[in-house]
Symmetry: C2
Subunit: 270 residues, 2 copies
């Protein structure tokens, strides 16, 4: 058990923090949240499994259960422990709320997906600059022409995030992020944006543009927004996510470069 | 690709075989089928993952898709390629049918689970007798007092199958079956049936009793009927299974003691 992640969740649950979670409980894994009705959750789960780079699964709950794997976040409640949520209807943002206590339904299934905060901390620790953090802006994200592996009606392009990295540090940035397969892992592309169908780096599809210096290479990582973009494209009648940047803070340390929660491949109890 | 499994499926699809599949395409893995509406499929999947000994998952389809992983059974259609199916409503057997072409619904999710045929072949090959095969009867199965790990509303006792093994061959039987973790693996118990809450070996809860000779030890393996018993106990409104012994014949060889289908932990395509 780690006090800091739990303390951050309790502070949020008490209503004492409604801002972005970057910087809360530094060193602990933060997770993206996606909630879907059980009828559409199975295909989404298979989509994540087939596209583990953009959608690294940390946990999946049973229907109606808002309590995630205690090994990931002890005593957490996904209805209250994130600062802000977004409710999408028919693929469009319908509402932003501060908890899901009233909205929660007995057939809702929650997914927790790994997030790039994990590897950004490791990049910074190695002295590799992370531009959007320097700028105090959102990371720039782009739709690519790389197709995800579809699952049922869920199909669409891979979305990537981009970080400009000094040319001499690219190899090190690859090596560092590769250690975190459950936080998107190694980059999927570096260099010419056209190679993955990106037309203009200064016009990201999500987030904010960042300057690229002459000695820097744009480096692209698979991005969790892929899941959201695909679910939106499929016009899923109801989907709930965390508000961007307002994540679940877990009890798992970033350095534990673990696989999916033990819950997914449990040793037999027999 | 292996012709024998595919040939068995085509024969069944053509209506030329409606009997049990034991003995068809010897050496190839056969699989249990469970079909559930998408709304109840997620919890069933988590139940299987939490109880891999009785419920070893080989494949899960997306909603409405009756085509399993081609790496497990190429060009198969789960609506037609098993000889006989059972439809349960509210936990009770409602109907037995020879195909699911008319019944199939766009929200149905199919699960394929490993089966003990795989390890029985290996026992026989090693010269270890398999009593119910000698008797030409069904394997005896028992409810135990060992609780499965629950998943949502799905909870219940582990069901085991029993095979009497000559005392001097028990260790070998354990070693052989342990090689097949996706066909129930090593025994969960051997010896005194009371140790797992079985009162009378001559009164199995499912299947037929078999004689036990004085030099033999009853050996118990986790059994796929667990899934069915638990789903029935939860009174799931609709569930479809293969008729007992009327399995899906796959293209995978028994000797490939593989983990879950590559579909579940696919290498990234990126």
């Amino acid at each position: 058990m780690s006090g800091e992640g739990a303390a951050a969740r309790l502070m949020i649950r008490a209503g004492a923090w409604r801002g972005p979670t970057a910087g809360l409980a530094p060193g602990f894994v933060q997770a993206n949240l996606v909630v879907l009705p059980a009828g559409s959750a199975g295909d989404f789960r298979i989509f994540c499994e087939r596209n583990p780079r953009p959608c690294p699964l940390l946990d999946v709950t049973t229907a109606g259960c808002s309590v995630p794997d205690p090994g990931l976040a002890a005593n957490a409640d996904l209805r209250t422990d994130l600062p802000r949520y977004r409710i999408y209807r028919d693929g469009r943002l319908a509402e932003e709320v501060e908890d899901l206590l009233d909205a929660w339904q007995p057939d809702w299934v929650a997914f927790l997906l790994g997030c790039s905060f994990t590897f950004e901390g490791a990049l910074l620790a190695a002295g590799i600059p992370v531009r959007h953090l320097e700028c105090g802006s959102n990371v720039p994200m782009y739709r690519t022409t790389v197709a995800c592996r579809p699952a049922g009606a869920l199909a669409g392009p891979l979305v990537v995030s981009m970080r400009p990295i000094p040319r001499g540090l690219v190899a090190q940035a690859v090596a560092i992020t590769a250690r975190f397969p459950h936080a998107h892992g190694a980059p999927v592309h570096a260099g010419d944006p056209a190679g993955i169908g990106i037309e203009a780096l200064d016009r990201p599809d999500y987030g904010d543009p960042v300057p690229i210096e002459p000695d820097e290479v744009p480096v692209f990582w698979a991005c969790g927004v892929t899941a959201q973009a695909v679910a939106e494209a499929a016009r899923i009648p109801l989907m709930i996510t965390h508000a961007p940047g307002h994540m679940l803070v877990t009890d798992r340390r970033n350095q534990e470069s673990l696989g999916p929660s033990a819950r997914h491949t449990p040793p037999s109890v027999l």
